[in-house]
């Protein structure tokens, strides 16, 4: 899933400081799963904004809505009624959401309520970790199913580097697993250590962001 975390309320208050009426728009997709932008979080943020502005003697009217998804234009449409009276929309979807909302309402301010952090999963309750950087040509089959692009701090294709110690990466103060240590252990278990004996060639980054923003076209779905 796309993992995101809430921006500090102070930052959101600063964005909406000139508004009298805003919509907080959540999303029932990934950000609901990672507890940052679902119906519950919409309610919490809306209350925080109201309370803070009331305390400042400058009431803010906050309307709440949680879209089925914010990464499909048709699911933005239900915001139309609320949007017409609002000064701004604060989207707490991943950063795709506010951009879809902005595209639908050309004359309305749209602000992001979250910082989109990474593509990942939950490691334990309340802990999320990065697993993918969407490089566009998956190579993890060569590495025991583990990704050195997203999970090695130096994106080594021929690790582990000299900073791998006790299974941990030198970056992150001992909190990050050295993915190359895990790749090594996994290939050892699989009896495939020979896969690590040859230099791994050059990664083609042209399928990644490096070639510019990407578009995927599925002709069979367009018919």
């Amino acid at each position: 899933m796309v993992v995101a975390e809430s921006k500090p309320v102070a930052e959101i208050l600063e964005m909406v400081k000139d508004c009298k009426k805003v919509v907080v728009a959540g999303c029932k997709g990934c950000v609901t799963v990672c507890n940052s932008g679902g119906e519950k979080e919409v309610g919490i943020l809306a209350s925080e904004l109201r309370i803070a502005r009331k305390a400042a003697g400058n009431d803010l009217e906050v309307m709440e809505y949680t879209c089925e998804r914010q990464c499909d234009p048709e699911y933005i449409e239900p915001l139309d009624d609320l949007a017409k009276d609002a000064d701004a929309i604060v989207s707490i979807a991943c950063s795709v959401g506010p951009q879809y909302v902005a595209a639908r309402y050309p004359y309305l301010q749209v602000y992001p309520g979250l910082n989109t952090t990474f593509i990942g999963g939950s490691a334990e309750h309340g802990v999320f970790k990065e697993y993918c950087q969407a490089c566009g040509s998956c190579i993890i089959g060569d590495f025991g199913g583990l990704c050195p692009v997203a999970r090695c701090a130096k994106q080594l294709m021929n690790g582990p580097c000299g900073g791998s110690s006790g299974g941990k990466c030198e970056v992150g103060k001992g909190q990050i697993d050295c993915i190359w240590h895990l790749i090594y252990e996994r290939l050892k278990n699989l009896g495939q250590l020979h896969k690590l004996e040859q230099p791994w060639g050059y990664k083609n980054w042209s399928t990644s962001r490096e070639a510019g923003p990407r578009t995927m076209i599925r002709e069979e779905l367009r018919k």
Partner: protein
């Protein structure tokens, strides 16, 4: 003797004599005089002088410029290049430029992570890693081709080196990774600072068993302790370095004004121990901000004067 670059370092190693390289880091500013001053101490001590490339991810004046200053001083440079800050376009451009101005030794590294440096908010590159850079330089030199397949107009004659850290984990893979670097193009290896002699000795045994010392010159990395604080810092905070307690006990056991001498004594012993190990082809002395003491360390270790080839 078949030479690929014809550098002094290559000639000495290929003649079978123990080689010496020293390290000299450019300053954090444009003060070339300071750099010349430090480098002058190394002039007749080293067969080539390593010039670091923004080491520890801290901005310094660039390696290529510093190498040309060394050449003007009559010192043979060994240019270090990290893949952290440049993509394959810039890396290949710098290799070609370095060869064009007469640099003949190149050390290919990935580099310390930028989060440890003075610009932790920077974007890193890592288009290539050190193994890929080795392959890239070897290919330009031997096949006359860039990564893209484009023919180079004038091949870069480089004596190509890499780093190895016998003290990182998993230990049993360290020598395999070094073999990969050799396969990619490394003709010589400079190791991380060695303090744990037993582990280094085991590493060399594995390298000998795999036949790597027949294919590549392994130079043992030595960094003298300047103080007890430095030894403690390296033990506790520098990832991938193992400092046995016995050295810290020795440094603590002498009067304060004798600690530096004891550090030098330890370095000399370590050099001698390394040179006795089968397969060690030379010493890479990294006297960090202590270049002025390099001559006496090398002299005491019996490595001066340097041979002429």
């Amino acid at each position: 003797m078949t030479l690929t670059a014809g550098s002094n370092l290559e000639k000495i190693l290929k003649s079978g004599q123990k080689a010496v390289t020293c390290e000299c880091g450019p300053p954090r500013g444009a003060d070339a005089e300071h750099f010349r001053h430090k480098a002058a101490f190394l002039k007749d001590c080293a067969d080539a002088v390593n010039v670091t490339d923004n080491q520890t991810a801290v901005v310094r004046f660039c390696s290529l410029a510093a190498c040309t200053i060394l050449m003007d001083m009559g010192i043979e440079p060994l240019m270090q290049m990290v893949t952290r800050d440049m993509n394959r376009i810039a890396l290949q451009s710098n290799v070609l430029g370095a060869a064009a101005v007469g640099i003949k030794n190149l050390l290919c590294l990935t580099g310390d992570h930028n989060s440890f440096g003075d610009h932790p908010q920077s974007k890193n590159v890592h288009d290539l890693d050190s193994v890929q850079l080795l392959d890239c330089v070897r290919r330009m030199r031997d096949e006359g081709k860039m990564i893209s397949g484009t023919e180079v107009d004038g091949r870069p004659a480089m004596f190509i080196g890499a780093a190895a850290n016998p003290f990182a984990d998993p230990f049993e893979f360290r020598v395999v990774r070094m073999a990969k670097k050799i396969q990619a193009g490394a003709q010589f290896i400079q190791t991380q600072c060695i303090y744990d002699m037993d582990r280094f000795s085991k590493f060399m045994e594995m390298a000998n068993d795999m036949g790597l010392t027949e294919k590549c010159f392994i130079m043992a990395g030595i960094t003298p302790f300047k103080s007890v604080g430095m030894a403690n810092y390296m033990k506790k905070f520098v990832p991938g370095i193992i400092v046995p307690d016995e050295y810290i006990t020795r440094l603590k056991g002498v009067p304060k004004d004798k600690v530096a001498e004891e550090g030098i004594k330890i370095a000399v012993e370590q050099i001698q121990q390394c040179l006795e190990m089968k397969g060690v082809a030379g010493i890479h002395l990294m006297a960090i901000e202590w270049e002025e003491r390099a001559p006496e360390i090398l002299k005491a270790a019996g490595l001066l004067p340097r041979p002429k080839v």
